[in-house]
Symmetry: C2
Subunit: 344 residues, 2 copies
DNA sequence: GCAAAAAATGTGAGCGCTCACACTAGTTTG
DNA sequence: CAAACTAGTGTGAGCGCTCACATTTTTTGC
């Protein structure tokens, strides 16, 4: 009588299958790995035994022997927002299509030590590749050191010219949105920016300011939020108090903040787009149902995830990396009802 | 000269560290595992060498030897919605706190074969435990078979009395919301339900109908959506066309659909809550900024994730499972401005 | 029909770790 | 002061697999 309480169900191994078929474990291994060097009939017999014994290869053993794994790692800042979550799903899906699984490690703050811990944990699992979804600017040397020997792709911000990265040309999107506002006749455009520390915040804000300037106007007042609807609300209130009348449009750093702003304007009896136009960024599935439906920039998160995986596998498959180092997407403007000519 | 293109950087092993310190690999292993049976001075020397060589234990080898891993698996239906994503983040976080990592596997449809594949993939990685976030009703025997030998916790629906599960008492939340509507004087309450196939859809819908009946009224018309804002919009339009005037309030299956409904009412010139009250479910961070701010039921996703992990570890740690099989949360109603007495 | 080539199979070693022990030294104990 | 510990350390085997070969069997060419 075994004394262990929960008698761990022992899984079948190569040897079990081999014994049952009267062949060597190696032959079974060949079948398991799809090698063509097995007689047709033998293969059939073995496949049958595999099914009967419910044999599944022990990945730990395989990994130990090959020093490779079929896991890719993703490190990211807390992704409670819907966007990053979508990216993750897309990554998981396209990795699975290639026979890989995804292991996720979140970091709470962007410190060197958290970065080291997260990447370290992933590396301990011998991930075949890494998707890094965080602001890595200025940390590229650290990253190179941490990832030594493991191919990686960065997501969301060009880190260095020779680092494979998937980037969305946010400036392009914001420029389109700003021009849309300018074309409508707005030239006093306020801005609700994302929190400092996010490359997306800076990029979006700068692109907006630049576009306004190149049209010959001065950028309007700017308040920062933290991506949340609540912060957008507060920012808009602040804008209203400090700069009322000095703007006819608001560029929000994302749709959630735009929603908050919409609410603040409404609560203060300011018609949108009658007196103030609002544009967001991301094009959430629900943005078309805001009040009024939001003009925004469409950000394709699924594309991001897929591109990452594709790029990563280029690096994993060919042992050397010579493929293009950067894949860029230009997001498109989606015009709905939150924008109109000023004073219309 | 080695011919491999990318010379895989060989990581330091126990032996490397041991050689450098003049001790046996076993002693190093003891240090790595925090065994107290090592002389203080030896430990210091070894720790130093570990740091210098940047030694990290090879988890594949450890897993192979121990037949255990420090990975927990999560299987879920595609979690593009913000809720499930939050659950995942919470799981990842509390697992990490216990020294475990998370591997995620999504299923696209709830077929036996997809279920088998996803759980199989996770099992191949020798996960120490499994969080199952999907509708498992009726599939409990299959699940038991698939998970044989691996502790698991189901999330979101009580599957069977003896299956560990974390459930949110959605009926409780919906009852509170419905009573709130009844208290305000509504008794013709329409409903926008979630898609069939989700236990949450049925539970919410039934609880609503039941509460209305027990107050002596008949449940109003009901249309189903798919959780999206768009479907909520369409559902509300349909309600307006087919049953206009036959309801003074709408219970939406979630906040996104409530948002769509809000938009549809607005677009048709129906004041909320003036002529129709609306209540949602989930309490998204942005729901307070809808137009008008939404009365809804708060669903604590982070709690769900944490409870799962806690429960799972109870099963993993004690080898036998005798702990409570179910952990329940009663969500609270959050009253905002989308509800008021009818005709107010 | 027989050597040579090709196909099919088997063998040994080793991946890096942990387990169950065996061993050595110093410490207690009666 | 021998017996019985204890702390600290080392040894052998084995987890389940893959690699690089060695070996056997079958096919092929002339």
């Amino acid at each position: 009588m075994n004394s262990r309480v929960r008698q761990r169900f022992r899984d079948a191994t190569l040897d079990d299958v081999a014994a049952r078929c009267g062949v060597s474990y190696q032959t079974v291994s060949r079948v398991a790995n799809g090698s063509p060097l097995v007689a047709k009939e033998t293969r059939a017999r073995i496949l049958e035994a595999i099914a009967e014994l419910n044999y599944r290869p022990n990945l730990a053993a395989r990994r130990l022997a090959t020093r490779r794994s079929n896991v890719i790692g993703m490190m990211g800042t807390r992704v409670t927002y819907s966007g990053p979550a979508k990216v993750m799903i897309a990554i998981e899906e396209s990795a699975k299509r290639r026979g890989y699984n995804l292991m996720f490690a979140a970091i709470e703050r962007l410190t060197d030590s958290e970065l080291g811990k997260a990447i370290g944990a992933l590396r301990e699992h011998q991930v075949a590749g890494l998707v890094l979804a965080a602001r890595l600017k200025g940390k590229i040397d650290l990253i190179r050191r941490l990832c030594r020997g493991v191919p990686f792709v960065t997501l969301g911000a060009g880190v260095a010219p020779d680092v494979p990265s998937v980037v969305v040309d946010e400036k392009h999107g914001v420029r389109a949105a700003t021009r849309h506002l300018l074309d409508l006749g707005h030239h006093r455009i306020a801005c609700i920016a994302g929190p400092p520390g996010w490359p997306a915040s800076k990029d979006r804000r700068h692109a907006c300011a630049q576009t306004i300037r190149s049209a010959g106007f001065e950028p309007g007042p700017c308040v920062v939020g933290d991506w949340s609807a609540e912060s957008g609300y507060k920012a808009a209130v602040q804008l209203l108090e400090s700069a009322s009348g000095r703007f006819t449009a608001i560029m929000a750093g994302n749709d959630h903040m735009a929603l908050g702003a919409l609410r603040a304007l409404h609560a203060n009896g300011i018609p949108v787009p009658g007196r103030v136009s609002v544009v967001g960024y991301d094009n959430l599935p629900e943005s078309g149902f805001f009040e009024p439906p939001l003009t925004t920039v469409h950000h394709d998160f699924a594309w991001e995830g897929e591109s990452c995986v594709e790029m990563l596998f280029r690096a994993i498959d060919r042992e050397s990396v010579e493929a293009p180092f950067r894949q860029v997407q230009r997001p498109q403007l989606v015009i709905r009802s939150s924008t109109a000519a000023p004073g219309s």
